[in-house]
Each structure stands twice: as structure tokens, then as C-alpha cells.
Amino acid sequence: MAEKLKIASYWAADCGGCDVAILDTHEKFLDIVQAADIVFMPIAVDIKEKDVEAFPDGYIDVCFFHGAIRNSENEHMAKLLRRKSKVLVAFGSCAMMGGVPGLANFKDREGILSRVYFESPSTDNPDKVLPQTETQVREGVLTLPAFYEEVKTLADVVDVDYFMPGCPPASHQIVNVFQAIVAGNLPPKGSIVGASTKSVCEECSRIKENKTIKRFYRVHEIIPDPERCLLEQGIPCMGPATRGGCGAACPVANQPCRGCYGPLDGVIDHGAKYISALASVIDANNPEEAAKIFDQIADPAGMLYWFGLPASLLRRVRK
């Protein structure tokens, strides 16, 4: 019998939904653990960071790394796992593009710390205590990782072999990718795996009539027609600018796509691409009228980068 694959899974700054997505392969999960040994998965098997350090370089066949790089510990683990893995996959929106935690790049580090530890109305902190990288307690010194100024993607700190989008990646796509790995059938380095090359609109069953619109609606302001394209009903939906692979899950639930699968091939900035789509759908050749229509969009910058601010061209707010 051929030697079993050695796989690893690690999470950095994220919610754990990527692990739930792996678990949501349900009965097929048993096939995964039959075909592969999990040699590192801090939440699942008893291998410690120190054990990983003792692995020969390249010992892990495939490492799924999920989560953004938010602090010094995340970066340290990314570098360690890069060294120990033959193939490193940026798994999920956070590792690939910064994800929802990347929205923090609209704020600065001090603003976050002061909101959480000083200003929050339930916080009782008269002495203005802030978490410290080193704290001297009676018994010794306690340490914490350093909280970075900005959220980074995995590829910002190490070389990445494959990118697998989704928040979280659809479980059927995880099964597909795993089968490709077992079959030794991976595409060229740098490819996006577990997703479509076409947009979410291609997977969406809603009817498109190439209609233009005179106003935008926020999601709470309108009950959309369940059969027709959301964008053509005035609800900003990221579908046209977003890579498919999810089966248009959110439009199926009558809500707009927010872009978790990231941009299509060849697009260097997801949000910029979507500006073009919005500019095409509104019916206004007069600048004042067009500006008024755009003013109906409640969060013009945030909407473009829900999942990918750290991977965007501008990356973060600068003052």
C-alpha cells in the first residue's frame, strides 16, 4: 500500500468556519481521514508546535492554512508551516484575501484597542489596563502575541501554492479539492482551486433582463422579486464581479452576494471591478443624478471590500 498522504490544517485569525466546512463534508469526511493522516491540526490531533519544528522540512504534503495574519503568532506559524509543507494552500477568504477580519484595515490599531478595552460601555477598566505582550505577575512573566497595525493575507508573509476561496469554502468544493490532491491532479502553482472560473451570476438562476436602474435599495428597504436579478432590482449584489463556486448560495436565500469568493481571474482589485458593474447598471448620464443614486449606497467602500480589503490595491486607510 502506498504511503498515506500527510496533511495539516491550521487556523490563524478567523472564526473557525473553515473547520466547520471541512466537518460539513459529513459522511465523506470519513473518506478523507482514510486517505490521509492528519499530522498537524492543533484542534484535532496531539501535535504541538514543537513537534512541527522537529519535522524535516517539506514533511507535510499539503497544509491548509486558514485565517488572516493579525498578530505575531499568526505570522510565526505561517512561516513555520511554509517551511514544513510541500504544498501550502491559502484556505478560505481570510487566508486568501484577509476576509471579514480584514475590515479592520478601515480602522487603526489604537482605535481598536481603545474601543475594546477603554470605551466599550460594559468595560470596567478604571486603571486603563491594556493587554501586554509581557506581563509580570507575582509568579512570573506571562506573554501574549503582538497585535499588528494591519491585517495581512497569508501571501503577504509567505509564498503560497494554491488559493481556495470562500467564507467558508463550500463543502462539496472541499471534497473536490481533496480528491484532486489524492489523485495527484493539482493545477499549476498559483492557481485558484475549489471554485469556478465564471462569476456567481453564471450559477445564479435569477432572471437577468439587462435592465438599468434609477435607484439603489438597502436590503431592509425592499422585498425583492424572488425570480429576478437582485442588482437589476436595485440591490447591490457583488455577483457580477465575484468568482462562482458557491452555487450562488446567498442569492438563493434572497440576499445579495457580498463577494466572499473574491475576484475573477485577471482582476487585480475586486472592488474596482465592481465599481464598473455598478456604473453600468445605473441609468443616469447626468453627473448630479448619478451622484445622487450612488449616495443611496450606504457603505460605498466597505461594500466593495467585505472580504478582501487587505488584498486590495489600497489595502488600508491611511491618515
Binding site: 474596482a272 464598473s276 455598478l278 448620464n285 467602500a301 489600497l314 491611511r318
Partner: protein, 146 residues
Amino acid sequence: MEQSFEPKIIGFLCNWCSYAGADLAGVSRLQYPPNIRIIRVMCSGRVDPSFVLKALKEGADGVLIAGCHPGDCHYESGNYKAMRRYLYLKKLLKEFGVEDERVRLEWISAAEGARFAQVVTEFTETIRRLGPSKFKEKAASVGKGA
């Protein structure tokens, strides 16, 4: 420091009107600051918003987009599209803490050489006043893995 600042401006000019206008400024020997680097595009509607963001990231202090006057687009509606994108881009830049005056949209026809020179002069002064853009990153750091 301020004295040594020479703005770098990228100009995306449409082939049919504004580029011809710039050409006219040249053959008419009109004086305008040398800070603009011109990229000819077939239509202002060809200017993807990412071109503008990329220019800012890679070292531009200002970006000029110029196309045919409304109604005159060689492709009928490209300039309207450009106008709508530009309006959104300005909103976006403000939220990132960038002065939205760093990006400017103008309609300049093939006959408006003098207007081209005037726009460039004014725009260069605007950017000089704003100072260097905070969004410049070293060219080498653009792209993955930087």
C-alpha cells in the same frame, strides 16, 4: 522637502478627443508643466477603476482621466460610464483617507489644445499643494508575496 516635491501625474487620455487635444497643445507649442505622463486609451470608458488605484499605489500623486465631451463619445456612451465610475471612485478614495482631488475627470476635445494645457497646469498645482500621496508603495512591493 516640500520644495523638492515634483508631482507625478498619470494621464489616461482617450484616443479620439483628449489625446488629440494634447497633441494639439504640443504642436501649438503651448507651455504646461512636465509632470504628466500620458497613457493613450481608446476611450475614457476603457479606464477601469483599478488602473487609477494601481497608478496611485505605484507612485502617482495624481491621476487625470480625460475623454470626449458628453454626446461626442466615439463609442456613444463610454464617457458616461467613465463619469459614473469616477464619481464612485472619488467616494471610495475619501473613505480611504485620500484627497479625492487627486483624481480628476475632464472632457477635452481634439480642438481644445489650450484647455488641455490649462487643465494640466491647474491639476499640477493642485497636486503640488496636496503634497506626495500617502498611497505610494515601492513598485517592488506590489503584488503577491511582498
